[in-house]
């Protein structure tokens, strides 16, 4: 009913949005959200391909990816929180103790 290319296209668009956001944003939380976006675009791909191939591998993979994304978000927020507690901001351009 729906060509698989559309799904890939959708995933690619979301992935690109995520990547673009990651490159341009300097706020830690937003960057994290962009990464989540990219992971989810991969999920779209996986589910679409799973349906296309008629095997469940992709869907199982998706479950794992969701879990990993959550774990990643959890750890990311923990780090960002620690930074926020110390510096009262999470702007990555201003986190630059480590330069040469």
């Amino acid at each position: 009913m729906i060509p698989v290319e559309l799904y890939i296209g959708l995933a690619a668009v979301i992935f690109t949005i995520g990547l673009f956001g990651f490159m341009t944003q300097r706020n830690g939380v937003r960057m994290l959200m962009c990464v989540e976006l990219m992971l989810n675009s991969a999920n779209i791909n996986l589910v679409a391909f799973s349906s296309y191939h008629g095997n469940l591998t992709g869907q199982v993979f998706t479950l794992y990816v969701i879990a990993l994304a959550a774990a990643e978000a959890a750890i990311g927020f923990a780090i960002l929180m620690s930074i926020f507690r110390m510096k009262d901001m999470i702007d990555l351009d201003k986190i630059n103790v480590l330069r040469w």
Partner: protein, 483 residues
């Protein structure tokens, strides 16, 4: 299916959980026990791994494989974890979060071990992330240290970006071949090679792994992270985590995507050259020893990447051997900086940049064993004969020439000569520059870890036969999968 095949992993999981649970109920002053417990567990796992060398089996619906390759890399990771956990006894002294430090490291190691034995991209990715996530937390372990947090957030963001890129690439592999099994993808490689999506996947995967292995130009996080993280964590990152990226890339590219060799071989050649050159050139001017080691780590990763270009059993064996040697050398070097940082901080609690090279002045007199070990490590890193670094370079570079990539070998050898300069600088500071500092007693755990690392470096240097043999066996596994 024989569960004994996974005795090392099971041992590690049990150790990790035991450390976590016991640590919760111990008072702060007796948490030292955890270090011994963790080290014991890792040693047992190491024993199981070494004892099982030579077995070949598939398990868990063919998603995991036990072969020379996986076992060799498991040994690498376990060795690094062992050094880490011995040294951490001192580092975590008096911390109430001791068990977390160990558990995260152990789980990271478990992740790396599963990456080494993964025979399926799903397992590979999940294990990869297990290791990554644990190390994100580890590198931000010093919650009140701005450097550590900065290291952590940079590592985390770039790490998760690389995971996303990698995953996106993997989805395409799955999309074209309909399976995530590595041999399955290799079997469906014809379809991949015919499809433009195959190229796209290769590009994404190279970028994803490039970030993890810290190949230039995907390296910008590495110096910051290695410098800012606690030294021991840097040792785990440089010596362990980076190797994980390499073994994963081995599996994905050499086993699964060998049919697309033409596409990625040249990319890796360029990356290798840029990486080693930039790494060495940038290391020259560093004043932070950890940052210098970080750049040197880049360079070493560049050397190992040559294996992707050459693709002969000997080159791959050399790359694999290099991974083990680098594990010993780099972990050892970072443990030395940990000892120095400890020394500096115990003299002055608010010292800025405790890993500055000025703090290495006169180390030869202040901490003789530490300084001597550092000498061994940097000479090994520089590739002075009769050390692990030389042996690995010997195999790797010579095989590069053998395969007809003389230009690559020449660049690598010149780089390696260049690297001597900054390694020698450390030695110069340690032995030739005067200092007012007094002799300090060297913490036993650090010393012990250093002795183990030195023993490893020299063992590979003096008696490389078994190591080379098994590295070659591992390389054969890689090539047998794809060709």
């Amino acid at each position: 299916m024989d569960l004994m095949l996974f005795a090392p992993e099971i041992t590690m999981v049990v150790t990790g959980l035991a450390v976590l649970l016991i640590g919760l109920f111990l008072p702060v002053e007796s948490k030292k026990v955890l270090g011994y417990l963790a080290s014991l567990g890792i040693l047992i796992a190491l024993y199981f791994t070494v004892a099982s060398l030579g077995t070949n089996a598939l398990a868990f619906y063919d998603t995991l494989s036990v072969d020379a390759l996986s076992q060799f890399f498991k040994i690498v990771f376990l060795v690094v974890a062992l050094l880490f956990s011995i040294a951490a006894v001192k580092y975590t002294e008096g911390s109430k979060n001791t068990e977390e430090f160990y558990v995260l490291a152990i789980f990271a190691t478990i992740g790396m071990m599963f990456v080494a034995s993964a025979n399926d991209l799903m397992v590979l990715f999940v294990a990869f992330e297990l290791a990554s996530i644990s190390t994100y937390a580890l590198s931000g372990f010093e919650k009140n240290n701005a450097q550590s947090l900065e290291a952590s957030i940079k590592y985390f963001l770039i790490g998760s970006l690389s995971a996303a890129l990698m995953l996106f690439g993997i989805t395409f592999l799955y999309g074209v071949t309909g399976t995530t099994s590595i041999p399955g993808i290799a079997a469906g490689a014809a379809a991949l090679a015919a499809s433009p999506i195959g190229i796209l996947a290769v590009v994404l995967l190279i970028a994803g792994f490039g970030f993890k292995i810290a190949l230039v130009p995907f390296h910008m996080w590495a110096p910051d992270t290695y410098q800012g993280s606690p030294s021991l964590v840097s040792s785990l990152l440089a010596a362990g985590s980076k190797k994980m990226g390499i073994v994963a890339a081995f599996k994905v590219f050499i086993v699964a995507l060998i049919a697309l060799k033409v596409e990625w071989q040249i990319a890796f050649a360029i990356l290798a050259v840029i990486t080693m050159t930039v790494g060495n050139a940038a290391a020259l001017s560093q004043t932070s020893v950890k940052r210098m080691l970080a750049y040197s780590s880049l360079a070493q990763a560049g050397y190992i990447t040559m294996a992707f270009v050459v693709l002969t059993p000997m080159a791959l064996g050399g790359g694999i051997l290099y991974a083990l040697s680098h594990g010993f050398m780099k972990a050892g070097a970072f443990i030395v900086t940990a000892a120095v940082v400890y020394m500096v901080l115990s003299e002055n609690k608010d010292a800025q940049n405790p890993d500055h090279i000025d703090n290495f002045r006169g180390l030869g007199r202040r901490m003789p064993i530490t300084a001597l070990s550092m000498t061994v490590f940097v000479f090994a890193l520089a590739g002075i004969p009769l050390t692990a670094g030389y042996m690995s370079k010997f195999v790797l570079f010579s095989s590069t020439i053998q395969a007809g990539f003389a230009w690559l070998a020449v660049i690598a050898i010149l780089n390696s000569a260049l690297s001597l300069y900054y390694y020698a600088k450390i030695v110069k500071y340690m032995y030739f520059l005067p200092t007012e500092g007094k002799k300090v007693s060297e913490p036993l755990p650090y010393t012990l870890a250093l002795v183990v690392a030195v023993a490893g470096v020299l063992a590979i240097g003096f008696w490389p036969e078994p190591f080379i043999y098994w590295a070659m066996e591992a390389a054969k596994v890689l090539l047998a999968g794809g060709m």
